[in-house]
């Protein structure tokens, strides 16, 4: 995190109000950092949503609103910074996994015979919907014996009426 900026002029003059003004400036700086981190966390939340969302924060406060001191603001800032960092790590990990699965799908499309019966869901490659890419033998048993393999994309999500019927 960035270091807190202190009002150098006040410190130099050694005024009686220096500590209070210095602390006020520090609190303003911390609030600005909290503002920036909250924006970053919100962006991460929206980015991660289609990937399955972010993990819930470990502790949840239901405190009443009050004027926070310097130490408390630092704790809020540090907690947010940790959550932003964790969110970014989670997004990066999922993005890497999606990239890996996309490469696997490309290979599967190029040479289905080498990836027999492999299935890759659209969700795994970051695409919406319930479609699943899978390798199957053309013409069933004949295709299996002859080595005729193809990649098919399933038709999507089950109909809502299916469960009722």
């Amino acid at each position: 995190m960035a270091l807190l900026e202190h009002d150098s002029e006040v410190v130099l003059h050694g005024s009686a109000f220096a500590p209070a003004r210095d602390e006020l400036a520090a609190r303003r700086s911390l609030r600005a950092q909290i503002d920036k981190l909250e924006r970053e966390l919100s962006d991460a939340f929206v980015t991660a949503y289609p990937m399955g969302g972010l993990d819930e924060p470990p502790t949840r406060s239901c405190a009443a609103p009050r004027l926070l001191g310097l130490g408390e603001l630092e704790r809020v800032r540090d907690d947010l910074a940790a959550r932003v960092q964790a969110a970014r790590a989670s997004i990066a990990q999922r993005a890497d996994h999606q990239a890996e699965r996309r490469v696997a799908l490309e290979k599967m499309l190029l040479d289905p015979g080498r990836y027999r019966f492999v299935r890759i869901a659209n969700r795994e490659i970051g695409e919406p919907g319930c479609g699943v890419w899978y390798v199957k033998p053309r013409l069933g048993l004949i295709g299996m014996l002859m080595g005729w393999w193809e990649v098919k994309l399933s038709s999507g999500c089950p109909l809502a009426t299916a469960a009722r019927s």
């Binding site: 909290i34 919100s42 962006d43 924060p57 009443a64 609103p65």
Partner: protein, 216 residues
Amino acid sequence: MGSANDFGFVEPRLREEFPGLRLAWRAVDERVRGSSREVGRRLRELSDRYLGAGVVAMRTRPIPHAYRTFFRQVGVDPDATRIPSEAAAVARLLKGGFESRDTVADALLIALVETGVPVWALDAAVVDCDSLGIRASVSGDRLGSGPEGGTSLSEGQLVVADLVTIHATLFGEPAPGHAPGSQTRRIVVFAVGVDGVPAIHVEEALWVAVDVLEKA
């Protein structure tokens, strides 16, 4: 629109820490009644504005972001205690639509949904409007003025109060007996703005609430 909005006091210490924190209020001679069909139709129209994706992305918009940031800056986790506009949006998704309750609840909800700025109502009979504002509680302060003398508050909590009574914690619901009820003849509506929320949005929220109350 009738008379202009009035602005409540904000304790100097709070104003110094949060220059954008403000409370605007208006008093109207209205009672709590059942809402008209027109208000019900307006609520249904507002319900249709919400889609899941929009609610997810809501926190990245300027006004919800401003309230979420303020919540964090005063020690409240907005993921645990939702800001009012997000709470309304989530309730809308869970219930499938906004439900009409009465003129006051509907007016406050419409103002919130249309502007993103939260508005609350108090029974004018228990409020000294001229001294209504935001301050930090001090030792011995109590919320409300019930038969037991209200609920005790810890020191430093942000509250909406006048010189005599604390009516609510900031962003909290009014204390029992302070919200408009069947005996109410005059209603005080107030909105709270924070850093990052343009003053015009706060004014607009009050204007919408009063407009609905007067026309409902």
